[in-house]
């Protein structure tokens, strides 16, 4: 197998649940001879698809965590990261996108571009991942790949271009017409492994020629050579492919392929398209952070002889201990090598290096720039960077959203207590959006995450993987507090009655900060507060933000400006200035019209058009702001911003209102001021709790 970096593809397969993504992956593994029999998701044979490697995923028929697998196709090495389809696991998708060079967007030929595809596509845009589309399920009743291609343009803003046409559709789906080579492809044999190339059926020829011309038009935009050749009627498949590739790499063109993974049709041409159109590691600019130079941006080069830089994007607890998935960005990782963990500076010896094939693995000696591999026996978190000797480098930190929901967990007995601790320590290393803390007041263990389902899955995993039986409390929304206007402070902290005294005076103001959580500005002139005490003032203000006085949630969006003050030659200290700042903040906060902010989710509900009214009503009842609705071939989608606090139990209500025919996705949108009646209720509840605690 070639070690040429140009022959490496690191790709993701992203899609809406039930678009057939796992089935497609399964077929790819079969055709690349990584597996020798085909199983289905929730297979009748009880085996389950190979990429869904966790028991829970098999049971629910959805992919929860990413699994990496390596396949070889026509002299190319392809690393496939299977990505989850539910938005509650967004971090999994985002982690995958960071290490991917390209992606296949799987769309259902019947349902088209669904809400989850929109969310995933938005994330791909954020990471500038070039993509090709595969319209799956062309054998299903109602399949219409051309409509799906149009929806790519209308709903996602892509510039789609058909590379294939279907030969028959629904039950009569037989194969595809390759519009580049202008030939028909059929898939024979028991599992579609026998490719038969034939002439385009006469009845489809005119349509194929028209589409070929459209393809030439679209591709010519990216190649003058092709444009000239097309005008002189001498465009070759190689010229077309080169132009399409250019368009894809520039994120300006999305080639559309089609097939039916379940019926074993169209998968091999898709693999060809992956190798032909998606980028190799040298096509994608890689930017890292130079830790020794104040975090300056540093361009990396996928050169196997340069300093090694590898990035841990996924951890897995396996039979042989912690398995860390790494993307090697620069240099080479060899078994027996020593690398440095950038975050801690710790030296780490590479013991065992493996290529992953879902649950199975293959030991290897080395991995070069561009590759994705697994290593055993290192203690690290996701997001850690490992480097060879040389400057300290870190890969750009991942965008990690703040958790929006919390749950208390209580182990049922002491055995469960130990196991729960182990499980929680593992989960927090694996998933940066999953957080754990001990509430100092209630002494309860609190887990926080991105949604109900996100936390449900971890509670379930505690039980299954760690035998930790736990009881959970009611879900709590992560509110925030913020000030809404400027307020001045002028506070003197003075205790000079015997012994060593305390003296500090701080003057200034706090005001709302629109970008960021906190900012400290020192405008003190003339040494009214000696420089050595200024950091203590910052610390004092900062410590006041942990718990607001309205309902005890963190305060965000505050700029604290220190303009004046006073000190005492003997009695001033860091402690005195910290206390003065804390007290000043407490006073000013009350005057700054504090308000409660609640997390608001972007919710998309989708289903048959007859339920459009039900969607509106269900969202309005939950204090939603409906942003708009879309109609598409009998289906309706309604987008709204809805406070998270109102979304509990929505899936059950939606199911019953629509006889299970509608579905929804949600992701965090923003924090927004809670309306008065909600704020009043929260204030009342908080005051009751505080006075109960005081009574006790």
């Amino acid at each position: 197998m070639s070690s040429d970096i140009h022959k490496i593809r690191n790709i993701g397969i992203s899609a809406h649940i039930d678009s057939g993504k796992t089935t497609l992956t399964e077929r790819i593994l079969f055709y690349t001879q990584r597996i020798h029999a085909i199983h289905d998701v929730k297979g009748k044979d009880g085996v389950g698809a190979t990429m869904d490697h966790m028991e829970l995923e098999r049971e629910r028929g959805i992919t929860i965590t990413s699994a990496a697998t390596h396949v070889e196709w026509k002299n190319h090495r392809i690393n496939i990261i299977d990505t989850p389809g539910h938005v509650d696991f967004t971090i999994e998708v985002e982690r995958s996108l960071q290490v991917l060079d390209g992606a296949v967007l799987v769309l259902c030929a019947v349902a088209g571009v669904q809400s989850q595809s929109i969310t995933v596509d938005r994330q791909m845009k954020r990471y500038k991942v070039p993509r090709i589309a595969f319209v799956n399920k062309c054998d299903r009743s109602g399949a219409n790949p051309e409509r799906v291609s149009r929806a790519l343009r209308d709903k996602l803003g892509h510039n789609p271009v058909l590379l294939q046409l279907p030969i028959g559709l629904e039950a009569k789906f037989e194969g595809v017409i390759d519009l580049v080579e202008m030939q028909a492809i059929y898939f024979g044999g028991d599992n579609g492994e026998k490719i038969e190339i034939r002439e385009i059926p006469a009845e489809l020829l005119a349509d194929a020629e028209e589409r070929h011309a459209e393809l030439l038009d679209a591709a010519s935009m990216f190649s003058d050579e092709l444009m000239e050749a097309a005008l002189e009627d001498r465009a070759t498949p190689d010229l077309i492919r080169a132009a399409v590739r250019k368009g894809v790499l520039a994120l300006d063109l999305t080639p559309v392929l089609m097939g039916s993974a379940y019926k074993n049709k169209g998968v091999q041409p898709l693999m060809d398209a992956v190798t032909r159109y998606l980028p190799d590691p040298t096509d994608v600019p890689i930017e890292a952070i130079d830790i020794d130079h104040d975090g300056a941006a540093l361009a990396l080069h996928p050169d196997p002889d340069a300093q090694t830089v590898a990035y841990a994007f996924k951890l897995d607890e396996g039979r042989y201990g912690q398995l860390t998935f790494l993307r090697v960005y620069q240099g080479t990782l060899k078994k027996g090598d020593t690398v440095f963990q950038s975050r801690t500076g710790k030296k780490i010896k590479i013991g065992r290096l493996v290529r992953m094939h879902a649950d199975k693995m293959e030991d290897i000696e080395l991995a070069s720039a561009g590759d994705i591999v697994g290593i055993f026996g290192i203690d690290c978190h996701t997001g850690d960077t490992f480097t060879g000797p040389g400057p300290r480098i870190s890969m750009t930190s991942m965008y990690v959203p703040e958790p929006v929901i919390s749950l208390s967990v209580h182990p049922v007995d002491s055995k469960a207590q130990d196991n729960m601790s182990k499980a929680l320590s593992r989960f927090t290393k694996e998933d940066p959006t999953f957080r754990v803390h001990l509430d100092p007041e209630s002494n309860e263990t609190i887990i926080s995450g991105m949604g109900e389902l996100h936390l449900d899955v971890y509670v379930e995993r505690m039980k299954r993987e760690y035998s930790a039986e736990v009881e959970t409390g009611a879900p709590q929304v992560a509110y925030r507090e913020a000030i809404s206007r400027r307020a001045d402070f002028d506070y003197l902290h003075k205790k000079q009655t015997g012994g060593s005294g305390q003296y500090a005076k701080v003057v200034g103001y706090i005001e709302p900060l629109t970008e960021g959580d906190y900012e400290f500005v020192d405008e003190v002139r003339g040494g009214r507060i000696p420089t050595e005490y200024v950091p203590a003032c910052d610390k004092g203000f900062r410590s006041s933000l942990a718990k607001g006085s309205l309902i005890g949630f963190p305060v965000v969006g505050v700029r604290a400006v220190l303009t004046d003050g006073n000190s005492h030659a003997v009695d001033s200290s860091d402690m005195a200035f910290m206390t003065a700042s804390r007290m000043a903040f407490r006073d000013a906060y009350k005057k700054a019209k504090p308000q409660i902010l609640e997390p608001v989710m972007r919710v998309s509900v989708e289903g048959p058009g007859e339920f459009q009214g039900a969607f509106y009503r269900s969202l309005m009842q939950r204090r939603g702001t409906v942003l708009g609705s879309t109609e598409d071939a009998g289906f309706a989608r309604v987008d709204a911003d809805v406070p998270l606090a109102e979304m509990f139990g929505y899936s059950t209500d939606l199911r019953s209102a629509t006889q299970g025919k509608a579905e929804f996705t949600m992701e965090f949108s923003k924090y927004a001021p809670a309306p008065k009646e909600v704020s009043d209720e929260l204030l009342k509840k908080y005051r009751t709790n505080v006075s109960d605690e005081e009574d006790a």
Partner: protein, 240 residues
Amino acid sequence: MTNLMISLRRSPRMLLERDGHPGPGPGKLGLVVARAGVGKTAFLTGIGVDALLSGQKVLHVSVERSIDKIREWYDEQLVEMLKRERKLEHLSAVQLTMERRRHIHTFIGQSFSVDRVRQTVSLLRDSMEFVPAVIILDRMEYAGVDKPAIADLKAMAAEIGAELWMACRTHREGPASPGHLPPPADAFEDLVDVAFSLDPQDAKVRLHIIKDKEKMVERDLNILLDPQTLLLVPGVATKK
């Protein structure tokens, strides 16, 4: 907030204010005609923003466009207006107020029909108590809307007391017959109450009023619009 929002208004629609309505009024059909690429959609968005700033509810109907894209246009205009007034700190509050007054409804594929618009209007009224005072129909040329359909839409708007706005793409060739709207708008001109034309001149856009059934403006405008937003440039005298 209300005063701030009203102070931001800069759409040529405000030139049509009468009888206490911030525009031509219920049941009236306003049209903007221009060649492709001149900015009909931006102009219509400006009409929508103007209605929202005046406290009216707006239903923005479009074809083959995503909700996010249309929201972006509204947000861009608003940012531009607030920037000009140096009031950008009010962006999220004004945005939220506008979002609550606006509903965007898009049709993808071949799903557009007058009946479907009618049904959506009923659903919005019955399910959300949302009754628009202004309905904007964008990209109707893609939906193949003809004269009977426009008459139907106008009647529907009149039933709920809404003002209707549409755009029409004219062609480079084919000058208008004197006293008539340029083709293809001439086919339904008796339904149109007021019509603006956008005339590109170098990098600028000149606004004319080419039909004014009820003499709302009393003279041709012949003014230059802000080429970026297609809004009135500050200082242009409004009717009032």
